[in-house]
Symmetry: C2
Subunit: 263 residues, 2 copies
């Protein structure tokens, strides 16, 4: 089954110089996967108009079905996300009255007026749809470009998550109605390399599933096994693969301990 | 001052599907910045030989001075980092006796022998230097390709950090001897948009410095201001810029509170 493809783009020097951990990509990747998208790349790029526009030319040449961009919608001089999108798509920015009203309301409620910097946040690509930000000042927006759907979101995690959950997720679910099903468990007292041959064996029998071991923690914390599938008939296959894999582990590695995985 | 450029590449589906937060890129980005490298991109790519090799062709066309790759050095079927590097560089993999001895010792000490899966980890690009892994089984390696230095590291954070600190950092410091200097402080009781005009003003006077506000947290947690510079004479300039910026904030925004930043 061929899944629609997605790219996640995170704009901001703070992600490149080690100031900020990119939890946005984790949140977006998790959600896109559950909505049945194959996330092909996550890229963090600098707040540099030329470099960032060059990067988006590449993205648009790869033609993912959707592109989620976060970061760089704010009021400061280096918040250049929409300038970059404008340069790379050739779609001009224009002050949007709906966006401007949202921004004005947001600051007025806090006893502040529209400054030049705040007003800048209302300039969005012509023809795009405003995505209301209920947490912060900068609205997001959504546009279609050469059969790709581009979602422009802020970088502050609470704002990004709120807009994603309330406004982006419903649009994505509508676009791609698939079922995602996942099971996971934890294996203690072993090395990942001991599990590899049995994972390969099950992987060979269920090639359409995603089966993977993650040694994310230290030896004693165990190894997490993920088994997932996308599409209507996958629940049964995920369960079968899970059962077979646990049987193989227990048969060949009597010392290991299998337990349910809690995050 | 033109800095040498770097790209960080993180290999692994778990980073794309929202299973793992990419703290590796944060650690590497922080270190590279302090060693005077300009990190141009962080990219997370899937465990897919064709897609990943295509990606590395692009990286090599951009000719960054260094490329740090993490993830995909382990014993499982989808640990394909070195296969990808081999395909993209045209440099063949060969079992390296030094790497093999390290792997054998690591498993022997734990009462385990060399399996086919473990032995695979000793196959590294011909001509590359082995980087010993003191924490886990998979050694890293370092190679030069078309004037670029490529560092191949594991994805498990504790292993990556150990190899980076002990073996990569000394090589990078030797290659690029620059001074990095940073000051930061926290501003409470304000919006980022209120700070923007004064940051722009100082930025205009100190164009060679990195000056940025990060609204990483919610309103009450404040905004963090970073001021940094690379090169011998920057300490004084960073201090001057910091002083001027705090003066401007205090003069124009009497309600704000400035305090030192603690992570």
């Amino acid at each position: 089954m061929k899944l629609p493809t997605a790219e996640i783009v995170c704009l901001g020097n703070e992600l490149l110089i080690g100031v900020t951990v990119n939890t946005n990509a984790t949140f977006i990747g998790d959600n896109l996967t559950k909505f049945g998208y194959e996330v092909r790349r996550v890229t963090c790029i600098r707040d540099d108009l030329e470099l960032a526009a060059d990067f988006f030319y590449e993205v648009f040449n790869r033609k993912p079905d959707i592109v989620i961009v976060s970061g760089g919608l704010g009021p400061t001089y280096d918040d250049i996300q929409l300038e970059v999108i404008s340069k790379a798509t050739g779609i001009q920015l224009q002050e949007n009255s709906e966006a401007l009203a949202m921004i004005e309301t947001y600051y007025n409620q806090r006893g502040l007026s529209l400054s030049k910097e705040r007003r800048k946040m209302a300039k969005i690509p012509i023809g795009s749809t405003v995505l209301k930000n209920d947490i912060g000042g900068a609205p997001g927006c959504f546009l279609s470009f050469k059969d790709m759907s581009i979602f422009c979101l802020p970088g502050v995690p609470s704002e990004m998550k709120d807009i994603f959950t309330k406004r982006v997720a419903p649009l994505l679910k509508e676009k791609n109605q698939v079922d995602f099903y996942e099971e996971k468990f934890q294996v203690l007292n072993c090395f990942e390399s001991q599990l590899a041959p049995y994972i390969n064996e099950v992987k060979g029998k269920f090639s359409e599933l995603y089966i993977k071991s993650h040694p994310a923690h230290e030896y004693k914390a165990g190894i997490v096994i993920h088994i997932s599938g996308v599409g209507g008939m996958q629940i049964e296959k995920v369960q079968q693969a899970n059962k077979l894999l646990q049987e193989l582990f227990q048969k060949h590695l009597p010392k290991i301990k299998i337990q349910s995985f809690t995050e």
